[in-house]
Amino acid sequence: MYAVLHPPNFAAQVVAQQRPELRKRPVALIDGEPPADTVVAANKAARGLGVEVGMTRLQAATIPEVVTIRRVHEDEVAAQSILHTIACMFSPRIEYVEIHPGTYALDIDGMNGMFGDEMRLANKLRQRVMTEGFLANVAVAQNFDAALCLALGRTGVSVVPQGGEATALRDLPLHVLNLTAEQAETFKAWGIRTCGQLAALVETDLISRIGQTGKRLYSLARGAWPHLMFPVESNFEDSLVERMELDFPVELLEPLLFLLGRMTDTLLERAKAKARAIASLRVVLHLDGGKRHERIVRPALPLEDKLTLLKLLQLDLETHPPGAAILSLELHAHSAEPYRAQHGLFLPQAPEPGRLEVLLARLRKLLGEERVGSVELKDDHRPNAFRIVPFAPPPPKRSEQRNLAVATALRVCRPPQTIGVVFTGSVPARVFWDGQGYAVREIAGPWRVSGQWWNEANWCREEWDVRLATESAERVCRIAFDPRSRCWYVQGTYD
């Protein structure tokens, strides 16, 4: 059994779905290069006022109350992907009928267990499509083409029992058979208006008059033309794209977030329908002046939460704002298996992954990109060589390390502070630091360290550990002498 879903006048319906305020107004859709642009679709109200497909824009504009809108192909692609997603919910085998935009044929054999009998399935399918803002005809028949003709010719839901295709098609007009202009003219001349009248002809006579296409039309009119189904097996990742063109350039981020929120929601719905989560989002902003601004938000774990994703997008765009007004935007998503974790009552405390992502994005915005993260020591001889890596705590697990004595911590001065040093012989005896003089009570050193003498980044210094004292306080510091700049400085204080 096949169910065919057909949204009549698809282009006009897309406009009504994107801009609900135009739903009750006469709308004509214009396409083509000005001034040769013509009407390609019109809704019922506009057709009632006399708008016809093929009219020029000027002709349509002369009819009062008619709103002329330029056709946006991206919107149609987005609407089609919505219908595609819905069709996928009802059957794993679907075929896209290319000659009728937005039309899908579903193989519903074996789907009774999930959706009930054919009538119930057809009703559920139609209701699901209507909740997305489209009006569609649904027809169910044993023959693929019979179901297609019924969906094209009859409004609402039609279910044809097995063997009843010819009877059901009898009253349909001939245009459902997708005739060429020449064939339509011939049948009109013969006085044949419906499929029933065509099916009543003698097959061999028809073929002898209009050729081999006559056999196909004869079988189609009787609902007996065989069809080999080619199910769509599209790459799911390719469908996770949303595009939007703006009517006027947007400079502020806030109005953009409303659009991004809607687009994220759609992408998330699509991903959730496949039991997947969003692993990364790529925002492409087309800017005024032809530039492109691209940002990628990649949470540590795949997320299913719209608010978290939207917050991450917002914080990222606030940290890296686009340089000019935005003309259009694209949102590409990459899906992955959702994160599943078994929590335990007795496991140590750890930040929740979703909240942690937002927290880190907020902190990066507050302090700077390179200022937030966990530290990783570099395999380098240079003292204090490290890099900052994104904070991603491993799963809570007790790690047993051998207990050593408590280590003395060094508080590093970043950048190192220059000091004045007075010597006794070749050993520092007095240090002047930050406007204060210190006597050197004890000293250990010098420890000569150097490295990377073979390139520009070479370093070399003599380090001393000193116990400095004033009348009231005492501190142990590490001071160093840099022979290249011939300068003394404080590296840090032991605390």
Binding site: L359, L363, L367, G373, A407, L410, C413, E474
Partner: protein, 257 residues
């Protein structure tokens, strides 16, 4: 005696809707503590630093504040929990942290740096403001077992200008997030908001070891004075005398030997 019990029961029943158990003493739960990794200090603090409250550690330079905090954080990260270090002066040494046995992947380090033309000794309002905001965000997000707010290099007169309401807010947030919030500063700042108040001092001069010709800085002896511990409160309020613990820290190179 029986009449007193009856009377109490009657009063409690009458007030049950407004004040539950009006005349019964509330049973105080034993505070949850994190070990500091230093036995001498744990013995004085009754097990370690309390969870879900503020611990302030005050002291000048070279009094062992940072070593103490790193040791505490090491013990917590080794238990599998995540911690954060809010570094107002960008002074944390990753090598010291690694030497203290901290699981670095479980430590979130927030480096707050001075503006380019600003000297570290200049007025630290922007850095302090950023640190307080960052701490606020960390507490609100929750999930961190301990957060260290390191203000050791900020002058006491600057910290004193932080409104008391900030510390009160932090205390409430720490309680809700079950986070041990540790302040490192030169002098106590959080006053009554801190559950545990500690003062760090130098315990005595440990001379650099002179062996043959070369002297070597090997260890330092510190002392920790417990000035207040609210968790030790009893029915009769009385001020307890400060308790002192002495401990020593070794330099990483002397541990290797």
């Amino acid at each position: 005696m029986a009449s007193a019990t009856n009377l109490r029961l009657q009063i409690e029943t009458a007030l049950a809707k407004r004040v539950p158990a009006a005349l019964t003493l509330k049973i105080k739960q034993a505070p949850e503590v994190f070990s500091t990794g230093i036995e001498e200090v744990d013995a004085v603090l009754g097990g370690g630093i309390p969870r879900g409250s503020i611990t302030e550690v005050a002291g000048g330079a070279t009094t062992g504040k940072t070593s103490f905090a790193l040791s505490s954080i090491a013990a917590i990260t080794q238990s599998g929990a995540a911690c954060a270090w809010v570094d107002v002066s960008d002074a944390l040494s990753p090598e010291s942290a690694a030497a203290a046995n901290i699981v670095l992947k479980r430590l979130l380090w927030l480096r707050i740096s001075a503006e380019r033309r600003e000297r570290i000794t200049d007025k630290p309002w922007s850095r302090l403001g950023q640190a307080l905001n960052a701490t606020d965000l960390l507490l609100q997000a929750g999930g961190f077992a301990a957060i260290v707010l390191d203000m050791s290099d900020v002058l006491p007169q600057h910290i004193m200008r932080v409104p008391l309401s900030t510390w009160y807010r932090f205390r409430l947030a720490a309680e809700q997030a079950r986070t041990a919030l540790i302040f490192l500063s030169q002098s106590p700042c959080a006053s009554s908001c801190a559950t545990l108040s500690l003062r760090c001092e130098l315990a005595g001069i440990q001379p650099f070891r002179s062996e043959k010709e070369t002297a070597l800085f090997e260890r330092q002896r510190y002392s920790l004075v417990r000035e207040r511990n609210r968790n030790e409160g009893s029915a009769i309020v009385r001020k307890k005398p400060p308790v002192r613990a002495e401990w020593s820290a070794e330099t990483p190179w002397s541990r290797v030997r």
